[in-house]
């Protein structure tokens, strides 16, 4: 019984969340959000792991070799792609926020100004 990978995933999730809550710079905030998301990669890959399992790619190993779960790996791939898309969108919004408000401090973004 080992839960270390899940514990690390929880730790990364909470650390990233702390960064989001206490952020004083929008760029920093976007990166913290990526940190939060990276915990899900670890969680997914950790769940699908089977002790001594090979990667589920059967090029030079016989097809009946014990291998890790391919479905969570495919999910992680989706996760990475969506993460990249979200990060790009948020950074675009950051660029616009800087243009509109002249600051990147989320506390000073005043929706009533300008």
């Amino acid at each position: 019984m080992s839960f270390a990978p899940y514990a690390v995933a929880i730790w990364i999730f909470l650390v990233g969340l702390y960064g989001v809550v206490t952020s004083r710079h929008l760029m920093h905030l976007v990166i913290c959000l990526s940190v939060v998301q990276s915990s899900t990669y670890l969680l997914l890959l950790g769940i699908g792991y089977r002790t001594d399992g090979a990667a589920s790619i059967f090029v030079d190993i016989p097809p009946n070799t014990k291998a890790v779960d391919p479905v969570v790996k495919a999910l992680t791939l989706t996760d990475v792609v969506v993460g990249a898309a979200v990060t790009a969108l948020l950074l675009a919004l950051t660029v616009q926020a800087k243009k509109r408000f002249g600051t990147l401090d989320p506390d000073e973004l005043d929706p009533l100004r300008d």
Binding site: I10, L17, V59, A85, A92
Partner: protein, 269 residues
Amino acid sequence: MSAGESAHTPRRPGEISFATRRTLFLVSALVLAGVMVWALGGVPSFGDYHGVYGLVLNHVAVPERHATNVITAVNFDYRGFDTLGEEFILFAAVLGLALILREGRDEEEGPPDDDASGRRVVGASNAVRLITVLLIGPTVVLAGYVIVHGPITPGGGFQGGVIAATALLFVYLGGEYLTLRRVRPLPAVEITKAAGAGAFVLIGAGGLIFGTAFLANFLPLGTAGDVFSAGTMQPLSVAVGLEVTGGFVLILSEFLDQTLVVRRRGGAR
């Protein structure tokens, strides 16, 4: 960062201080962490996973679909419909990005920073130029290799597409923005992107016409491990590769344009 730092702006009514916010978070994070640790009790022990679906796929993907990379088989065949959604998430995100970063009413495109008249262009050093020029070709070849071999070895359209887009960064790194503009005709990039997204749907529709269902694998499967094997997986991988390449080139271009070209009317950026 000290708690008293928020003093530099007058606090608006109803706004809580930085210290209060952090305390509030730490308390709720502790509760959240407790719930998560409690949930660990219901998670299978690490290395002891028995999800039937994945294990079945591991055993049937090679004999049934002649694809040695089961992850690609999941993405482009068994759960191809989900990948269609994933691809259109990326498509929509890139469209949204282009929309957000469009030229505002009070903005105009100036000459790029490294094209200012009366100033000698300080480009990259010769060493950087040489290395990037040498890297562009192999990067594009590697991208094509990764995309085409998706059903066989680790790789596929998403990974290869991102590699292909980095070739554009090499052009920027080694040359100047002006060179970049010449190698990056945006309408062509947009068409590539849309063609990739459209091709995925068309190949899926091919499954309806020649096979049994949408995204059914209707092409000859070939020999497992061969470059041309696993039926529709490879064309789908190429379609995704085109879309991702186009999408990422657009993302990179939009951000580079923001830093180098677009500025407020009157000169300030």
